[in-house]
């Protein structure tokens, strides 16, 4: 008897043979072991293809897949390393999935895009940044030399010499502007209406006015920015008030007190501002991602809008989905949303959508409340588990790398007055220092590093407090390292659970971060010898 073709078998497996053909195939399969094997293989293949296509089953091609389940040669140590690697991959996978769930893939993509862009900017402009840093260093040194000369010399002639030397140093060592980059500073920087800046413009001033054209990007730190001309590249601004009346050919990244957009941004607008006003004639060609206190969207957004805000007022046209998370969302009669409205609010009544507003897609309101039902959501427990595992892993790493620092910090938690003081100072002072560095622009890389350290300290705060808590509960036995690890796990588990308690959960989390970060920073400061002078 001849076997059917592989094609016939494949069609049989798909269940798409005619009834007679199916019967014939089954008769043959009953007799032929080879064909049975083939059919089994084809079935398996179908499952593999189905699984590969189904993204819900495999949310992210995360690091978990990168760790092959192969045996690592090299005895026990390698085995432990493999285990640690596996654990790290699992935690990273967990965190990735959680981030995905929490933020939604689009939002994540937006923010990742922003971070990548910032990193790219730093890398591409490394030379410029270096030169700017040099300038600052030279100016500072010159100033110091001048003051030093005055102080030491007390003779006017020496002072004059010092001044001349200082100026000469600046003139000599100070950088000449690069070809494709124009750096300007002063009380007021203006690009006149007839003027064209070829390349990138970097400006720091009290007021920056752009009436003309800039062919490259514009990077500005100022109190007031008034953009009435044309920027063909991206616009990156840190300022108190920003008004964009002209056209930005690329994307705009704005951190400001107040942002008013009357003109056009051809690509995305990413802004974190206290108040954002997009007026009715304005247009954003790409996505709109905003964080702020009060937002008013009157203009036209070609793609989706994502907003995190205390209150948002939409009366314009959104080309895709409108996503909102925060306090109060109002969609006015004149508004048009071509996609869905997704709102994440505390009460359903916080979302007001005028009956005359044209919302093409559905309105999805998710009420974010910590009522009893909240604990029924698997997401919540997923978060608890993730935060616990992440903190435990980091704590473990800390205990291995710097045991005395971590343990001393944990003990310092019980001197809670001093720790809390240092903690509050860190929590409030950190962002101010970061902002100051960022606004001076030259400090942008430094500000980013400091931001990383700041977040790490806040996160480590939880670990330190968890460890302190655990050490109170776990009786010490022979092996101090194992004791510390056990205490860490017990304390963190308790803390993670306490953090999701209703009402007190939030304050507990904040207090733990403050207290722990304070203890850690205080311990670090003591090591640097600052504490004694600061605390008398």
């Amino acid at each position: 008897m001849t076997c059917p073709t592989e094609l016939t078998c494949a069609v049989y497996v798909d269940g798409e043979l005619s009834p007679e053909e199916t019967r014939a195939a089954e008769r043959h399969l009953a007799e032929c072991a080879r064909c049975r094997r083939l059919v089994a293989v084809l079935r398996h293949e179908n499952r593999v293809i189905g699984a590969a296509l189904d993204e819900r089953a495999a949310p992210a091609p995360g690091p978990a897949t990168a760790v092959r389940p192969t045996t690592i040669p090299g005895g026990r140590r390698a085995g432990t390393r493999g285990l640690a690697l596996g654990a790290a991959a699992t935690v990273a996978g967990f965190a990735g999935v959680t981030g995905w769930v929490a933020l939604g893939d689009r939002v994540a993509a937006d923010w990742i895009g922003l971070v990548v862009k910032a990193a790219l900017f730093v890398v591409m402009n490394a030379a410029t940044i270096e030169r700017t840093l040099m300038t600052v260093a030279v100016v500072t040194m010159a100033a110091l030399a001048f003051v030093g000369g005055l102080y030491l010399g007390r003779s006017s002639s020496r002072a004059v010499v010092a001044l001349v030397l200082a100026v000469a140093a600046v003139v000599d060592v100070g950088p000449s502007p690069a070809e494709a980059l124009e750096a300007r500073s002063g009380l007021e920087v203006t690009v006149g209406a007839a003027q064209t800046v070829e390349g990138t413009l970097v400006a720091a001033a009290e007021t920056v006015r752009i009436d003309g054209t800039v062919d490259g990007d514009v990077i500005v730190a100022a109190a007031h920015v008034d953009m009435r001309g044309t920027v063909r590249g991206d616009l990156i601004v840190v300022a108190r008030t920003v008004e964009v009346v002209g056209t930005v050919g690329g994307s705009a990244y704005v951190a400001a007190g107040t942002l008013t957009l009357r003109g056009r941004v051809e690509r995305g607008l990413y802004a974190a501002d206290r108040r954002i006003l997009i007026e009715s004639g304005a247009r954003v060609g790409g996505d709109l991602t905003l964080t702020g206190r009060s937002l008013e969207i009157g203009g036209r957004v070609e793609r989706g809008a994502t907003m995190f805000a205390h209150e948002a007022d939409v009366s314009g046209h959104i080309g895709r989905d409108l996503r909102f998370r925060g306090g109060r969302l109002e969609v006015r009669a004149s508004a048009r949303v071509d996609g869905a409205v997704r709102a994440d609010v505390v009460r359903a009544s916080d979302v007001t959508i005028d009956v005359q507003a044209a919302v093409a897609g559905p309105v999805l309101t998710r009420v974010r409340s910590r009522a009893a039902g909240w604990y029924g959501e698997p997401r919540v427990w997923f978060w608890v588990a993730t935060s616990f595992f992440g903190a435990a892993l980091l704590g473990w790493v800390g205990l291995v790398l710097a045991p005395s620092l971590v343990l001393d910090s944990a003990d310092a938690v019980w001197r809670w007055g001093a720790s809390l003081g240092w903690g509050v100072a860190t929590v409030i002072g950190g962002p101010i220092a970061i902002l100051l560095l960022a606004v001076t622009l030259v400090g942008l890389p430094l500000a980013l590093i400091l931001l990383g350290l700041y977040l790490l300290a806040l996160y480590a705060g939880k670990i330190v407090v968890g460890l302190a808590l655990g050490r109170m509960l776990v009786k010490p036995r022979a092996n101090p390292q194992r004791d510390a690890l056990k205490a860490l796990v017990v304390g963190l588990a308790l803390l993670s659970l306490a953090a999701v308690l209703p009402v007190v959960g939030g304050p507990i989390r904040v207090a733990a971060a403050c207290l722990g970060a304070g203890a850690l920073v205080r311990r670090l400061a003591r090591a640097a010898g600052v504490v004694r002078s600061a605390e008398g």
Partner: protein, 190 residues
């Protein structure tokens, strides 16, 4: 969403109630997006296509026959829309046409002589398989996605692609062969 809930949501959506649409969107938007992504091959175009499918849903629902499970119907509507986009992109309507007609059965191999690559597709590295799927020629990617993600039958796929049922069988068969080849090549390279 169980079948009764689904039927209720569909019924409410047909009456024009916003909550009905919201429930359907909530339940199926990810799956629809997935199919769009597999068919169009680009996340951005897929987002647009999903928006379009749900925007047109209120009117399309008039044509819905409740005898069919709603998810099946929705995925079929989705693939219709995506294939339209692909065709427009190609400006060539005979995308899936007839070079397959004269394929002789001898070339397709007999079961007693299964292709040596038949066992290549395994579970390890679902990501690898997915990457390979994305690199398949469009006609294969589309056929495999319709069959194994959209879970459409051969007849449905045939009518959507505008080819005969036999071509569908051959497209899917060839698609799997190409996939095995691609994965084997990837293996050799690593």
């Amino acid at each position: 969403m169980n079948p009764t809930e689904m039927a209720e949501a569909v019924e409410r959506a047909r009456r024009g109630e916003r909550e009905g649409f919201a429930e359907l969107y909530e339940a199926f938007s990810r799956r629809v997006l997935g199919l769009c992504r597999h068919l169009l091959g680009s996340p951005d175009a897929a987002e647009d296509a999903r928006s379009d499918v749900f925007l047109r849903l209120p009117r399309a629902l008039d044509r819905y026959d409740p005898a069919l499970p709603f998810d099946r119907w929705l995925l079929s509507v989705t693939s219709h829309h995506c294939l339209d986009i692909l065709r427009r992109r190609r400006l060539e309507s005979r995308l899936f046409a007839a070079e397959w007609e004269e394929t002789d059965s001898a070339a397709l191999g007999s079961a007693c002589d299964p292709s040596p690559l038949a066992t290549v597709l395994t579970d390890e590295g679902r990501g690898r398989v997915r990457d390979a799927l994305l690199r398949l020629p469009e006609q294969y990617r589309v056929s495999l996605a319709l069959r194994y993600y959209g879970e459409l039958g051969y007849d449905e796929i045939a009518s959507q692609l505008g080819v005969t049922r036999n071509h569908v069988a051959i497209l899917i068969f060839r698609g799997k062969q190409a996939l095995r080849r691609l994965l084997a090549e990837l293996d050799e390279r690593t």
